[in-house]
Subunit: 332 residues, 2 copies
């Protein structure tokens, strides 16, 4: 087995990069099941930690209905667990928990770590890498940004309707052998993966979309097409994006103004799309409010950037987050 | 016939106050039909200007299903018109148009005026009296604030579920014989009516409720009970109310802080209430955005009062107002 050495600059963990690592997928919702299934489909050793779907997946395996071709992994082809204490230690822990469950980092991740285990969070928003770094050391931590449309349609059954790209990088910044190693794992598993020179830049770039579209769609109960369907709506979205870009710049990510036009055009092509936060509102589930809006807002405050629209949205979304009402479904 | 003289101070019209005046009800939706029916029920001469419901009301009259007892007015007991040019001149014009139709003031009201016709607007929000004053002279204009729960359930059929109070006053300020004359017309028609010493104060007092509850309920698609159901929601409503009170003070209405507690308590007792702007959103009808939020916001700007929450709400509601989407109904 070839072992590559870690990039050791920038205070990163010193360790080896096994060619066939043990991968622990923590928080196997739609995202974890999809990417985990792709890795397992291509021969990687993936250990899934499941909660509500454990019994079903243990019995029936995983099924992915994908735009790029459906596939199933029978129970004997995957390793599923419902208790982290029964899982083997991992070379790579991939975190796909909802960020509202970040208080579970310690009990769910600590038991899996050996001296050079790397941790990759694929969660949304800001603050996840920071929290992992506090708990387990910054040297272990990487972050990834996912561009994928997936839905869990049943226990262990995932609909993959578009895209799949992951862009990942070191929490400590800069490219590294370790980041390329993880990217290779994905790229050899039918998941396009790019290494970011600057993870923070990538996170803020995504927030320019996430904050207006997740925030307004959930606060106002509107799909993305309606948010952009009127001049007043497009203006509102652009103003929120400008607040995010101004904040990003103060936070060290020098995003260009042209990103606004680009994101608007891209979203116009998405049709009637329900964002994850909008879906969470509809179904009375926890909103990923702090990672997507709360943390960016605190960055704006620290940097002295005025963000009145983000603040108002945050106040509205806190109301919804505390309410957790399930909307009765609309008739077609 | 006794004729009282007008109060002539403050540049008001000099004229007579007939004991049995001709009253023109302009914009006979739920509000106009309800109050007009009450006046007609008690022997006043009311001329209704109707549009979509004209044929039905001419055939079947008006029906009010009221908490204080149902009543009907057969066709021969009321005077209905579908063209203002066929209506007699009036001593009192009562305006109950939706404020989004204020561009119709000139053609709908001018033909009804004689030298001393008074105009009473019962419309929502700010700016209606000002517009009427511009067009027809400030001396004619009075304004009233309605506290009533009514719904049009069919052509000429009104559900009256609670309250009914009108508080009215002179646009020029101060009490007047004319205001008392109009109040008497209502008070002798089973409609409680009070004369305001300061109409502006009354308008702003109502806005302390209307702006947060109409605004947030429509922007967020939430009933009033949900807006107040969480600590974050109550805090948001209170912060919006504080912005309105600060604006009112700069605009000359010195509202007390205690109004906030009072309005919160009152609304908690209303249960799951859908505001008029929320209903307008749901049904894809024009939102009364300018009178209820746009004008107050412009007053805040003129007075240098920071109102970030109202501004954000206004931007969101403009999106909805331009969209006018009909929501498919929710399943129970």
């Amino acid at each position: 087995m070839t072992r590559l050495s870690f990039g050791v600059g920038r205070g990163r963990l010193v360790g080896m990069l096994p060619e066939n690592p043990t991968i622990a997928m923590i928080g196997a919702g739609a995202l974890g099941c999809y990417y985990g299934a792709r890795l397992a489909q291509h021969g990687k050793q993936v250990h899934f930690l499941l909660r509500s779907d454990y019994a079903e997946v243990q019995k029936n395996g995983l099924t992915v209905r994908s735009v790029s071709g459906d596939f199933s992994l029978p129970p004997e082809a995957i390793h599923v667990f419902n208790d982290v204490r029964s899982m083997p230690k991992a070379d790579l822990v991939i975190v796909t928990l909802k960020s509202t469950a970040n208080d579970q980092f310690q009990p769910l991740i600590a038991p899996l770590l050996h001296d050079s285990t790397a941790i990759l969070t694929l969660q949304n928003g800001l603050g996840n890498e920071e929290r992992l770094a506090e708990l387990f050391g910054a040297g272990r931590v990487m972050g990834g940004i996912c561009f994928v449309c997936i839905n869990r349609v049943g226990p262990g059954v995932i609909d993959h309707t578009a895209h799949g790209l992951i862009r990942l990088g070191e929490f400590g910044g800069g490219p590294s052998d370790r980041a390329r190693w993880v990217a290779d794992l994905f790229n050899t598993s039918a998941v396009q993966c790019e290494v970011l020179a600057d993870l923070r830049y990538g996170r803020w770039e995504k927030l320019v979309w996430n904050i207006p579209f997740n925030g307004l769609s959930a606060a106002m109960d509107l799909t993305t097409d309606r948010l952009l369907d009127t001049p007043a709506g497009e203006e509102l979205v652009r103003r929120v994006m400008s607040e995010v870009i101004a904040t990003a710049r103060v936070a060290g990510a020098n995003l260009p103004d042209e990103l606004i036009d680009y994101q608007i055009r891209r979203t116009q092509n998405m049709g009637s799309y329900r964002t994850s936060m909008h879906l969470d509102r509809t179904h009375g589930r926890a909103l990923e409010l702090e990672g997507i809006i709360g943390e960016p807002l605190r960055a704006a405050k620290r940097g002295g950037v005025p963000t009145p629209l983000m603040e108002a949205m945050y106040a509205q979304l806190r109301l919804l987050a505390q309410g957790n009402w399930v909307d009765s479904p609309r008739m077609a």
